[in-house]
């Protein structure tokens, strides 16, 4: 999807080529490139799309948005691991419905 998900930066490292952060999205942790948000530090919240942080946001906004996205059922798909993505595709032949409501 085109959604950017809020997460909290827990650690930052750089290999000289790229600045990466360990970001926690309400329990799911991913490695995220922070090169587009040089102002973001450990403890800050940021919105992330396909492994890239795009904008710093405040904590209250982050928590509300995470709750809304969780309620909308979009977090699972956005943060799925490779195994989960294939399992999802396998379970529903020729189907890709995000909330599992297509019972045909």
């Amino acid at each position: 999807m085109c959604l950017a998900i809020p997460g909290k930066v827990e650690a930052i490292s750089s290999d000289g080529l790229i600045r990466m952060g360990r970001v926690n999205f309400g329990g799911v942790v991913k490695n995220v490139c922070l090169d587009y948000v040089p102002e973001v530090e450990v403890g800050d919240y940021t919105i992330v799309h396909v492994g890239f942080a795009l904008s710093k946001i405040d904590e209250a906004t982050a928590q509300q948005t995470l709750a809304d996205f969780r309620a909308m059922g979009v977090l699972d798909e956005e943060l799925a691991s490779e195994e989960e993505a294939f399992a999802r595709a396998a379970q529903r032949p020729q189907s890709n419905c995000p909330d599992g409501s297509c019972e045909n």
């Binding site: 085109c2 890709n96 419905c97 995000p98």
Partner: protein, 380 residues
């Protein structure tokens, strides 16, 4: 705490909806151009909270859906090749080409990988020097910074086994094309919030001015969508055509400067074919001359593809907002998420999938009737 938040959100939602009902004196058609917003509107029943005269028209906001079938067939052909590791996002796995999809290609022995980020594909190229790693770069402006950085990194590392199949489309030219098309009835736009977090919204004032259309930068959560719609309706009722930012906690006028800078260094604007719509001039990005060595379409010369669209599929009409999914003759019959005919039914951002999964089998007349009843209740 969660209950209180949901309760509070419900109260605010009803308040905003009531205000929309009170200010609306005539019918309006408003378009959102973002698959995530389409899904949020349908799933949360936002359109059903609106007065009968306000119609949400679902625009071509699904980059997968507007990727030409020929390019999808090329992707499948590349993925089938021995020596190739083909990487994509998970939502591409079941998008149908003419004969197959990526999931089936994997089943047939192709090395197809799902990645969270295009950087994962770059890592695969570093770790597998004897393979050609190809990333399927489909998306709007939100995804482009990720792809730009991946190509930039691959170039800095001197990788010769990494390439990207690029299908990047741009929102502002799509809005201009829709407003220019004969028979257009759209009167206001919600601009996609996360696209704007990258690009800003400086591209919209000339469009608002040229076409006399209000454009409101809007988020994805129910309250954000209701607020965006409310502001659009208020402008329409007042005869205004301004650009407003209703997503200020994320979006600024200039957008993300480091991202825009790298985008301008890696990509260049090009004409693009939008599936179901046709060619929209200057509506896409391709790798520029300095980075064209990473273009998978050039690296892999694919010939002999016979692309065939289903004659029953009306994805194009849906993407243009000319019909609602439920008005397509094949909707729910020949075409379901289990047996999709086109990308709008398969893609998680597609309008047809949204309508099917959230039970929108009502016709436009029935929807209008439901809205009218709510309107009468609101004014009672």
């Amino acid at each position: 705490m969660k209950y209180l938040t949901e309760f509070r959100n419900g109260e605010i939602a009803r308040t905003i909806a009531r205000e929309i009902h009170q200010v609306t004196t005539q019918p309006w058609k408003i378009m959102e151009v973002c698959g995530g917003q389409t899904h949020s509107i349908i799933k949360n029943g936002i359109d059903q909270m609106l007065p009968a005269g306000i119609e949400m028209v679902h625009g071509p906001g699904c980059p997968v859906c507007v990727t030409p079938l020929e390019l999808i067939d090329k992707a499948l052909a590349i993925a089938e090749r021995p020596g190739v590791i083909f990487c994509s996002f998970g939502d591409m796995l079941r998008v149908p080409g003419t004969d197959s999809d990526l999931f089936q290609v994997k089943g047939g022995g192709g090395d197809v990988r799902v990645v969270y980020s295009p950087l994962d594909a770059v890592e695969l190229a570093v770790k597998n020097p004897d393979k050609q790693v190809v990333f399927f770069g489909v998306g709007f402006e939100t995804t482009a910074p990720a792809n730009a950085m991946s190509v930039h990194l691959a170039k800095r590392r001197g990788l010769t086994n990494f390439s990207v199949l690029v299908s990047h489309v741009l929102v502002p030219p799509a809005i201009a094309a829709i407003m220019s098309s004969p028979g257009n009835q759209v009167q206001g736009f919600l601009a996609a919030g996360h696209v704007c977090s990258v690009m800003g919204y400086w591209e919209y004032p000339p469009i608002a001015e040229k076409f006399h259309v209000p454009i409101v930068v809007t988020g994805f959560e129910p309250l954000d969508l209701l607020d965006g719609i409310r502001r659009t309706v208020i402008q329409l009722e007042a005869g205004q055509h301004e650009v407003e930012n209703a997503y200020g906690r994320v979006v600024t006028f200039d957008g993300n400067r480091p991202a825009r800078k790298l985008l301008s260094e890696v990509f260049e604007v090009t004409d693009r074919a939008w599936r179901g719509i046709g060619v929209i001039p200057k509506s896409g990005w391709r790798l520029n001359a300095d980075h064209r060595e990473f273009d998978a379409e050039l690296r892999f010369e694919i010939t002999g593809i016979h692309t065939q669209e289903s004659p029953l599929c009306h994805s194009g009409d849906v993407l243009r907002g000319a019909i609602k999914p439920a008005q397509c003759p094949a909707f729910g019959k020949e075409c379901t998420p289990r047996h999709p005919l086109g990308a709008t039914m398969v893609s998680s951002e597609g309008a047809c999938a949204a309508y099917y999964n959230y039970g929108r089998f009502l016709s436009a007349e029935q929807l209008a009737g439901a809205g009218k009843a709510m309107s009468e209740a609101a004014h009672a």
